[in-house]
Symmetry: D2
Subunit: 363 residues, 4 copies
């Protein structure tokens, strides 16, 4: 329960560094009897793989996952599921130049002051590479929630720099390297991101995610609200700087008469709340937005200090994404799935006896 | 560690409902030897009290706190600190009308579906009243962090509806009922909010908070990042819909060359990051923004359903705030203080042996 | 989740000191809809009250419990239940003499070295008085488990000093001040304990407890085994020095052919295991034994050191039990109930989908 | 934080089954800067390896550990340490016969009822084999505590069936396959255990462990007492049925005047308490005893039921230990080391500011 575990009943503990021998996760608390094979997990890993388009890091990693425990004869046993992904294409030499100086916008300086030294190779534990383990764990939650509840989680790129991107066709988001849900915008993004790469600069982005068929009643009233645990999970993703539920920051300018979602026997009249009321799921679609800062690893020279605190200049080389947000969609989905899975089990533990006299107006 | 406890080493567990006999908190893990008397806590409770201006709920609660344990001869003993605040001005009759129907925008429907029934009086556990206990606990963290580190946390109202409010004079925020840090805007807010009350409507708001003298190194790399735990704490506040760190949602439109905060021997050249790098405090000021939705309890009639799921109309009476954000400042401060306190103790537990060869460029 | 909370889903957090204004507990995670009034809790508190016979401390405490939250119209709401018991008969003057010297066998010296100072009045947080809060919380678990599962937990005094005490009539244990389940031994105990008091000395004891109708399947395979959590709970009781499950220490001398409980279609052929297999409940009766050391507060003079580390002599006055074990029965029951309640909810959270092809041979 | 994680700040999460591809652990929260190589861990793994004498299971496992993360250039980084041990000598065929019937005294029936089915190969997650991961994690705690505090943990076999075994020469315990600390008794044990094997039966045992140079002040007052967490850890070891601290079960027959350890300026006059007072370490040696039941896998035929609940007979084949206690010593040591490590970090987190006016009489 130190910093590398998320969840109370569905607990995911991860380990590994960008240039270490392997990455892994222990998924503890998964219900027994779930049909699970490595391919179920591999599918989600494919979505976040690098080197699959010219718009992401060119690092080539097969990201083959091995299930080391917790599955017997194709079904989860209910005991801890060990997952392992070997690193194969680490190029640590690329990082020798930054061994003694801190990359602006990176965790380098903070790690140095926390631990007294750091694994500088590819950012070590602070690399986005480690989200491989999170995505693998999320795939297990996805399979359970889909089979048990018909619950689906799907994300898309809703903003890239100055460009707002609507969700025109959510299914299409998985068909392009940008997770763009507006097919008409894909060519523009192609050009825009390629131009950025030529300039050696990077750009921020916003990712949105929707969960459907979320049962009402998930989340705890006080601190462990569903939206609070979602905010924790999302802000824990590399480069995340803002988390919004439903209308998010826009609510600050809304009136009560505009924001409150009226109830009718056939469902809610609107969904400004994004699917939670008082921190508990209402049965409406969950809507979450996460803003990601631009990659700090760019070719543009910048000022920094070295390990001794002396002034230095830096130009980051190595293989990087011009827009980390592009690859955040599968990670945002995984984090939401893990939180929903945990709260589904928690709610069932406490409230399995409950029968509400009120019909579920959202179904 | 069900839903009413926050923290790993500095653990705050709260209980109580809006119209129950009392509210309370158990603060566990506070370092021993801290000088503490009830007045230290009372000061923060005064900041969030209702009925102190015509712009907040007219409910009159003295909010006198009693320390029931954990303090001996004026110093914390290191054992659990029990805090109690009695409710004295509950008017449950006001709520009889909503006993059988759900207030749009409120937790009513979600609670009903989670638990099968609910304490409808003043929202029960979902009322903002329960933050009294959080603020009391935060006051203890404030005193320790101030005395130990010189760390200060101060918030202000940065937006009320369409009105953006700059932080011109932070100290002045405590001098007006709006926690407005721009004295020139106070008369405008007076008129604006009074007009809203006349219309029987409400408005959203954004609250910002800054922590100074935060030591570098607080936070864990993976899930329990400092910013992740802050996001969890803030989104756990009633009516919160968005949490931003540093530049927040604006980062989605920034370039890497613009966002990354360069390092110099005399400190960081900017603070777009808001004080965390890789989820770990950098030693810069922590900057957090929280967006609050408008109060859902308004005089404007609205559609809803009753406990049987039948269509109904509702007009919320009772005593309410036209803008909950106005009173959120002390709560946002308390939440940040609790998270910082917990991470300070966690960091000290793991890393007390660390001596970094790199000077703290922020001091 | 610092040291004053027990449980994962059914979480009990307690606070209070022997001579502070009050003791309390927050019971978090209780299922909603449980009928609960203060008298349900009072009944268990009566069982552990002092001053009810000449064989226990003469401190007179009514131990009236107040439910401060979490119950509405006579039913639990599913939110945190706050419980409060005021202290009324503290005689702190009795303890002035030990303010500056450490009582041998007490926590005094350990607290001093951990915290740098201590609340010496009646032992502060280390007093057995604080188990009032634990017993109050256990009463809630008892009511739920009884109504839901027909599960019953009952304990008895199985040893007092040299005297082994059989469980002849478990029901009779609640009818005498010793919780002795062998009515024929009560007169002997009367005389034995009175003699001890005259000598100003004290004696150890062993308490045994049985839980019936425990469903099979409670407990986790690895660390959070049911027996492990029981051992944690029991060893956490003041003065406990040993915890045994089933045959306990006797197993070290048993052969496999003797110990293993054979299975038959009509149940297990024996219960050497005490109701757990691989740390998971088997459906048999749970049998637990806890050994308590003798009260260290005796009239016999002893050597000690003072706060400065100088040699000193001590004679403990104040009001004490000659045999703390006598009053441990309700506490042992409460601890077992809390652990069973927590594991029942945990198991239901993870395994509610499970249907075993194997009949429950214990029913 | 489900069942496969132990610890609050020093957190060990394990996974793996007896006949799965690998076993592993994630050690989270280890202080940074600790010199660590695989051989440091290998040394402890050698102590628990099977197949090293004719008195343990003949399964041949090299138990080579790989460090997959958390160590950089020979030092711990402060991030999660991933450990992996491959299984190489699983003979699952041996277990086909028990696929459909439950071994008496084993977890088989309890797992079946909890999860609805089970990995029957070698007991799956319930096998003692999985303690490989625990021992590996304990080795890291051992190295830190030794280097930081000079703290040493060493165990010995204190009873085997009817034979009580004194601690004559603790160092010698590592020199024989029984961890017997009385060299004169080794030949007798040789003969005794060989005879048992010939009879196809097994025997219970008791293991004792001592920790020296434990600083005073470790442990929390209420539930997370040091002795409570030790009891939890020890009872969580396969086949453990009793945990005793200090004089353990014997205290039930002791008088206060006999049990209480008097204090003198040069230390405690005795150590009946076993090193804890009020659940907090006193600075004396920690003394813990754990009783293990006899292996249930024996050649003696026994009654059982099959998966359908029908009567059946069973004779366990496969490779087993006639006395699991023989191999429990390194596991008991590892568990104690993990608990002490966790509490050392927890104590430092809360109480690093403390300076006691009282000298440490135990040094």
């Amino acid at each position: 329960m130190s910093g590398n575990t998320i969840g109370r009943l569905f607990c995911v503990t991860t380990f590994g560094e960008s240039h270490g021998p392997a990455l892994g996760a222990v998924v503890d608390g998964c219900p027994p009897g779930l049909a699970l094979v490595e391919q179920d997990i591999q599918a989600d890993l494919e979505l976040r793989r690098t080197g699959t388009s010219r718009h992401t890091s060119q690092r080539q990693e097969p990201d083959r996952v091995r299930i080391l425990s917790g599955v017997f004869e194709g079904r989860t046993t209910g005991t801890a599921i060990g997952l392992l992904v070997e690193n194969t294409d680490a190029r640590s030499r690329d990082y020798d130049r930054i061994k003694d100086r801190f990359r602006p916008g990176h965790a380098d300086y903070a790690y140095q002051q926390k631990y007294g030294f750091r694994d500088h190779r590819g950012g070590g534990r602070s690399s986005a590479r480690i989200t491989v383990a999170t995505v693998a764990a999320g795939a297990i939650a996805r399979k359970y929630l889909r089979e048990k509840l018909g619950l689906e989680v799907a994300g898309w790129l809703s903003q890239a720099g100055p460009h707002r991107l609507d969700c025109v066709d959510l299914a299409s988001a998985r068909g392009n390297p940008f997770f763009c849900a507006d097919p008409s915008k894909v060519p523009m993004l192609e050009e825009y991101l390629w131009q950025l790469r030529r300039e050696g600069d990077s750009i921020g982005a916003k990712v949105s995610v929707r969960a459907t068929r979320v049962p009402p009643g998930l989340g705890e009233p006080m601190f462990d609200r569903l939206d609070a645990d979602i905010a924790y999970a999302m802000m824990g993703i590399n480069a995340a700087k803002a988390v919004e539920i439903g209308d998010g920051v826009a609510v600050a300018a809304q009136r009560g008469s505009e924001h409150r979602d009226e109830l009718t026997p056939s469902g809610f009249a609107a969904n400004h709340s994004g699917g939670t009321l008082g921190g508990i799921s209402s049965g409406q679609d969950l809507i979450v937005h996460v803003s990601f800062k631009p990659t700090s690893s760019i070719q543009v020279p910048g000022r920094t200090v070295d390990v001794a605190g002396q002034a230095a200049e830096i130009v980051t080389t190595g293989r990087h994404d011009p827009c980390v947000g592009l690859r955040a969609v599968p990670i945002v989905e995984a984090m939401l799935l893990i939180v929903l899975m945990d709260h589904f089990l928690r709610h069932r533990g406490q409230c399995a006896d409950v029968v509400s006299p009120t019909p579920d107006i959202t179904r």
